[in-house]
Symmetry: C2
Subunit: 278 residues, 2 copies
């Protein structure tokens, strides 16, 4: 199989379409024609062998699905609808054309279910599998959920139990919930590096502090420590001044910017930090 033949095969598998995508896979760039009413949001997430996953632990389709799901979680956190994505993939000596096709099939099955179109990407090779997924989403102008809108007395919510996806299996990006929160939540973020780290980011951006004064929902099999600090939850964390769907876990308070307490105790940010974990 040559590179061009593999690209042609992927092109045939990519059946989802999205309004405005004039040209997808197969040119130097994809071409997208946005409407004047929409605002576009963009995210990109690396998914690296031996850092985010091990080749032996999952089948290729589950890995391809997870690569896309992680980026879709960021789109959910903005309250946006995913429109198209670019998929960069470097094969390793241990992944053949069959593995790559399964990897794409896994990603494209999820893509189809949430109606996001594969618009292009890059194909390369490396000692370890490298994947980077860029997703573009759209939302009505001025309506994107940002991190910096939390205000004192807002209630803090999470979309589900915490403790890491390892205890739960597949990542389910909270796209539907994210869209329902538009116009209601004051701030939102997805928990990719652990509650303690991501709540701190939201509070720093908003210039506020947080008190976690309710029992934390914990995934079966996970510890309270994992619920507070484990990365890769991919639940939404958001704040609102009125009742919204979700599990309330505390409230926003005035105080030292980014300070977080849990049942009155100080919580340092101990979530995932790529510079410390090298």
């Amino acid at each position: 199989v040559t590179e061009d033949e593999l690209i042609a095969r992927i092109r045939r598998l990519a059946t989802s379409r999205t309004r405005g995508l004039e040209l997808g896979i197969g040119d130097d760039c994809a071409i997208f024609r946005p409407s004047a009413r929409e605002e576009l949001v963009f995210t990109t997430d690396l998914f690296l062998e031996d850092i985010h996953f091990r080749l032996a632990e999952s089948d290729a389709a589950a890995l391809g699905r997870r690569a896309l799901a992680r980026s879709l979680s960021d789109i959910a956190a903005m309250g946006a609808r995913p429109r198209f994505f670019l998929f960069s993939l470097a094969l390793s000596p241990r992944t053949d054309a069959g593995w790559v096709e399964k990897f794409y099939r896994g990603a494209l099955a999820l893509a189809k279910s949430v109606k996001v179109a594969l618009a292009g990407g890059d194909l390369s090779h490396s000692g370890r599998v490298v994947c980077d997924v860029m997703v573009c989403g759209s939302v009505a102008r001025g309506k994107a959920l940002r991190r910096d809108g939390a205000r004192p007395d807002d209630v803090i919510y999470v979309s589900g139990p915490l403790g890491g996806w390892q205890h739960r299996g597949e990542i389910e990006p909270r796209l539907e919930l994210g869209r329902r929160l538009v116009g209601k939540a004051t701030a939102a973020i997805d928990i990719s590096d652990g509650l303690s780290t991501d709540l701190r980011r939201l509070c720093v951006a908003s210039g506020v502090a947080a008190e976690l004064d309710r029992p934390l929902p914990v995934v079966e099999g996970a510890s309270l420590d994992e619920a507070l600090h484990a990365g890769e939850d991919y639940e939404l964390l958001y704040t609102a001044g009125r009742h919204v769907p979700g599990i309330p876990i505390g409230r926003i308070v005035r105080g030292r910017r980014g300070k977080i307490t849990f049942m009155g105790l100080n919580v340092p940010p101990r979530g995932y930090d790529h510079l410390r974990h090298r």
Copy 2:
């Protein structure tokens, strides 16, 4: 240095702005508000240690510049103006925070000179340095230069001598030329995998054949074989039915789709193929 501190430092370095970019680095997604008259183009390019570069061979700033330049070359090939980019980077155990800052400084100096804004990205770690650069460009609606518009009797041009950037030093993305070709060239592509491979791609997309019947411009120190087949040229290859700037190297003819001859001899595609080179 923590991940969040490094991100804050990069944010301060990123001084270029672009109209429509409502929110850059520091949220789950960047937010971009397009105008109704523009069409957006998107490209992404992997730049991997020990595949595309070696750590020892260049300083960090030159590598950062090259990572962005490769993606900008795709924007040039569409005749678009670069607007913003997302930068995904995984550090290795051999790259410290100082290296990363220099890498970003190299990319951001080029970004400033071509007025493209850093809008976000991802930061991770890995055994080898991994970089993926997504660039969004804009062009007037319906005016993007595609690969599929070449017609029999069009003249084939290249923007400069060929043979690989190794013989030339830095990559200069042909952004100004690309924009001048809008409305004039019938098809365009950038030469990243070698003339023989990329001309074949243009001809396959356009359903035509090509005759290279003029002397090829060759970079000083490169062989004719390198000019025909070496990757990483990053010159533009384009066709036009009338006189346009550039170096004419042949013409488009009717014939077997994708067939290329040089001085009457058949040229097989022997440029870079990531699946064959693994």
